[in-house]
Amino acid sequence: MTTHATLNGTITATGGENCTQRGFEWGYSTGSYPNSWTESGSFGAVAFNHPVTGLTNAATVFYRAKAYNSAGWGYGGEQSFKTWNTVAPTDSGAGAETFSGQRSGAYTDEGSGVDALASTGIPVTEAAAGAESLAIETSFSIGDAVTGDDQGSCFKPVDLTDDGGAVDSVAELSMEVTVSEAGVLTLEVCSASDLSWIDMSDSATGYDGTITIEFTVTDSGTLDNELVNLDRSFLDGGAGSEETTFGIPVQDSGMGADYWLVEASFTITDAGSGVDYWWAAQAFIDQSDSGVGVESSLSFEVSFTMTDANGSVIEAIDAMLSPLIMYDSAIGVEFAWRLKGSCLLDDFALPHVLMILIVDEAVMSDKKIHPPALPKRKLIGKPGRVVEIEGWTRSQTDVDDLRALDDGAAHIFIHPSGDTMKVLVRDFNVDRTADEYNRRRYQMSLAECS
């Protein structure tokens, strides 16, 4: 699959003299643009674009527009977007996996009214004047390389084209994916669910949108529910446990390699008037340890927040995709996640924090009123916040380090948000159970002090 993009730019002012050249520069690191395209002519203050093909997979592309007249080159601010991930699939051991499905179509508005894309059942609502086109494509692939890891990917690009007038459209995409593994087990289904999004309405200044996708990962066995909101991947080289550099551990409890990848990225480009588009790429895999197996299920919670160029929220959507469930009979792969960000006690990062509770207690007193009536209540004071933290670790060293902090001395607690408070460690408990013997669950109670 070719990874391609269209770069958009606008000459906003010429200084009274048309530009003789205009173009784009791009590269894969910020501030570095080894690739360039220019065209010559006489150009006023208008928008222009240029298609680029052959971009690197799953890369962040940085680019900027440029234009030239006798005053020299002028450059636009740096922009960036992510390219699709089309990583080739591999397999971990015996057994074959397949994962396929594709749906595509194009929509052209005929002028007024509501149209639906017959081939996909995607309704598009038109509000007023203007022509819309909408193309949605999803594709999935998982290949089996006999040995090694298997992985698949899913892409959902959307293109909304506005010809200058107002465009209002709503696209809903239902997606159905069947995953099967020949021989060893039959894996199930990412069932049809609603993924809704709205862009649109670029008339003049247009919208600049931001989108957040959050993936909720649920394991079907003895594991935790976790949230992941990331765009990283990691690869297990064989048996055993690995931990990625960003702190997501994977327990491989059986044979084979386990692989997990979640990726989502979105770009909305507003060219002033004219073309707005965004695309979304989601790659997800479960991993199908084909010899012994994988137990896991995925569900996807998708939330979109559209904001305009001033940061005001235009639209927010929450949607839940039905889970992708993969059944397996034997030993599984264990996923465990943590809250994003670092939760620090002094300079010690609390391992795998799953829950933070901050209680800001207020002590009230009631002043009785006669005759019996509503009392006058007064806030006497606040004893200070109490922070309850739950998490887990596989490391006894971590437990020892945590216990060492229970020393009666004041420490600095740093919340992942950056909020800090001076605290005493009030309680520290560690639990281990036979079914998760290597997992040490801890609870820590911190009392704010002066």
């Binding site: 924090v353 901050i358 209680v359 019996p372 009536a373 009392p375 209540r377 950056g418």
Partner: protein, 118 residues
Amino acid sequence: MFIGLVRFGEYALQHALVLGVQESRVIMDHFIPSANLGYRGDETMGGRTITIGGEIRDVDYALRVEELRRRADDVARSLDLEDGSAVINAKLGTIEITWTVDRGLTKPSYHATFYETR
């Protein structure tokens, strides 16, 4: 989210999801020697205790939390549940903020306790 907003003074609580109203009166027991039944007197209203649970859905969640905390300042404000009930006078007391791994860092849930007052 509730159809209406929950307002504490001019401040609208974020995405209120759960509302609990506890009403009580203070009944004092006076024992009477040798009597099977004592005397019970209604001393006063307890005043309603209203707990509101909800979610903060904002990348500026730390700011939203602080906005809430700052209002636990012993100042009585109007509490309007916008559910058709009468607006009452209340003070904000204990606040609990919870971050869990299944909701993520930017979606903490909160529990705020309001005390109806004169």
